[in-house]
C-alpha cells in the first residue's frame, strides 16, 4: 500500500499534476475567450459551461494528485460535481429565458 502511495505522491505524479493544471487553465482561458468573442447568447453559454466544467475538472484532478489526501480529494470532487450540475441547470435556465424572450418579441411584432 505504501509503495502505491509513494508512487502517487512522487515527483512523477507532481509533473503529471502540473500538466493537468495547465490543461485546465487552457480550457478556462479558451472558455473566457469564447464568452468575449462569440456573437449570441447560445454560443456563449456553450463556451462558458462546457469549457469551464472541463477546465475545472482538470484542475481538480491536478490538485487531487498534489494534495495526496483522500479526504481533500473527495471534497474537491464533490465541489466539482456540484459546480457541474449547477452550471448545467443555469445554462438551461438562461437559454430558456432567452428563448421565451425572443418568442415574446416575435408575437409582439406580429
Amino acid at each position: 500500500m505504501t509503495e502505491v502511495w509513494g508512487l502517487i505522491s512522487g515527483p512523477v505524479a507532481h509533473a503529471v499534476a502540473y500538466g493537468f493544471l495547465l490543461i485546465g487553465a487552457f480550457f478556462f482561458i479558451s472558455g473566457t475567450l469564447g464568452v468575449l468573442r462569440f456573437p449570441d447568447i447560445y454560443t456563449r453559454l456553450h463556451a462558458i459551461t462546457k469549457a469551464d466544467t472541463l477546465g475545472l475538472g482538470f484542475i481538480v484532478l491536478g490538485l487531487c494528485l498534489i494534495s495526496g489526501s483522500a479526504r481533500t480529494s473527495l471534497l474537491m470532487i464533490g465541489v466539482w460535481v456540484l459546480v457541474m450540475a449547477s452550471g448545467a441547470t443555469a445554462c438551461q435556465l438562461l437559454a430558456r429565458y432567452e428563448q421565451d424572450d425572443t418568442d415574446r418579441e416575435r408575437r409582439d411584432d406580429r
Partner: protein, 302 residues
C-alpha cells in the same frame, strides 16, 4: 513579486472593476449582476485574509440573498430613468470624497501595527468561553450583547417589511429541470447548514453562516414554489421567528437573576447554553431571511 502577491493584486483589480460596473453601469439590471459578482469575489478576499467565517457568510448572504432581494425589487420597479446629477455637482462630490479618502488613508496607515488589546484578550481567554473557535466565543460569550441585539434587528427588519404594502405578483412557473435541481440542493443546504452549526464550536462556522445557508435553501424552494407557505398569521411561524431572540433573552434574564450578571454564563454551563442559543438563533435567522427575501403579500399582510 511573489505568486500570492500577484494573485492579490489581480483580485484587487477585479474587485475595483466589478465595483465600478455595479456603481456606474447604465442599466440597473447590469448593475445588480455586477454587484452579485462583486459579492462572490469578496468571499475570495475574505478567504485570502484568513477569515473563512466571513467567506462562508458572504457567499450565502452578500452574494445570494442580497442578489435575490435586488433582483426581485428590480422586477417591481417601473423603468425610472437613470438621470445623472449635474456634472458640476458630481465633480464637487468627487473632490469631497477624494479629500476624505486621503484623510482616512493617512489615519489608517499610521495606526500602530499588531493586534488591538481586545483581540489579544479574546484570544487568550477562549478556553474559558466553552467553545474552541475564537469567533464563536466572541459572538456568543464575550460580546453576546451585540449578538442579542442583532437578532432583534433581524426581527425588526421583518416587522418593518410587513408594515409596507407588498406588490401583488405571482411567481412564474418553474421549469422541471430547476425543480429537480432545487429538490436536490435544498436538502443539501440543510445538511451543510447543520454541519456548519455543529462544527462552529471549534472551527469556522456557526449560527449565522448556518442560518444563512439554510435560509437560502428555503428561499430557493419558495422561489420555485415547492415550499409550503409561511403565513405570518400562523402562530408557529411567529414563534419560530422569535425563538432566537426569546431564548437569548431568557438566558440573559436567568443569568441576571440567578447568576453572576446579565449574560455572564455560570461556569460549567457555557457550552450547553451557547449550543442552546445557537440552535434557536439558527432556526430564527434561516426563517427570517427566507421570509425577508421571498415572501409575497399573502404571507405577510394578513
Amino acid at each position: 513579486m511573489t505568486a500570492d502577491g500577484f494573485f492579490d493584486a489581480l483580485l484587487a483589480m477585479l474587485i475595483v472593476s466589478l465595483a465600478c460596473g455595479a456603481l456606474y453601469s447604465r442599466s440597473l439590471y447590469r448593475a445588480v449582476v455586477f454587484f452579485i459578482a462583486l459579492g462572490l469575489s469578496l468571499a475570495l478576499v475574505w478567504a485570502r485574509l484568513s477569515a473563512p467565517d466571513l467567506a462562508l457568510a458572504e457567499a450565502a448572504i452578500g452574494a445570494g440573498l442580497t442578489g435575490v432581494l435586488l433582483l426581485s425589487a428590480l422586477k417591481h420597479q417601473a423603468a425610472e430613468p437613470l438621470r445623472p446629477m449635474r456634472p458640476s455637482f458630481q465633480l464637487l462630490m468627487a473632490v469631497l470624497t477624494g479629500v476624505t479618502f486621503l484623510l482616512v488613508l493617512t489615519t489608517v496607515w499610521s495606526m500602530p501595527a499588531g493586534m488591538a488589546q481586545v483581540g489579544q484578550l479574546a484570544l487568550n481567554s477562549v478556553n474559558d468561553s466553552g467553545v474552541e473557535h475564537p469567533i464563536t466565543a466572541v459572538l456568543l460569550n464575550f460580546r453576546a450583547w451585540d449578538t442579542l441585539l442583532e437578532l432583534l434587528v433581524v426581527v425588526l427588519a421583518l416587522l418593518g417589511v410587513r408594515q409596507l404594502k407588498l406588490p401583488n405578483d405571482r411567481l412564474p412557473v418553474a421549469w422541471p429541470l430547476l425543480l429537480a435541481w432545487s429538490k436536490l440542493l435544498a436538502p443539501l443546504s440543510l445538511l451543510l447548514g447543520v454541519y456548519l452549526l455543529w462544527r462552529g464550536a471549534d472551527a469556522p462556522g456557526g449560527a449565522f453562516q448556518a442560518g444563512a445557508l439554510i435560509g437560502s435553501g428555503l428561499l430557493m424552494l419558495k422561489l420555485v414554489g415547492l415550499a409550503p407557505t409561511t403565513p405570518w398569521s400562523h402562530w408557529g411561524i411567529r414563534l419560530l421567528v422569535l425563538l432566537g431572540s426569546f431564548t437569548f433573552l431568557l438566558v440573559a434574564m436567568a443569568t441576571d437573576v440567578f447568576g453572576a450578571g446579565w449574560l455572564t454564563y455560570p461556569p460549567g454551563w457555557n457550552k450547553a447554553l451557547i449550543l442552546l442559543i445557537e440552535v434557536a438563533a439558527t432556526a430564527s435567522i434561516a426563517l427570517s431571511l427566507a421570509m425577508l427575501a421571498g415572501s409575497d403579500h399573502r404571507e405577510l399582510n394578513q
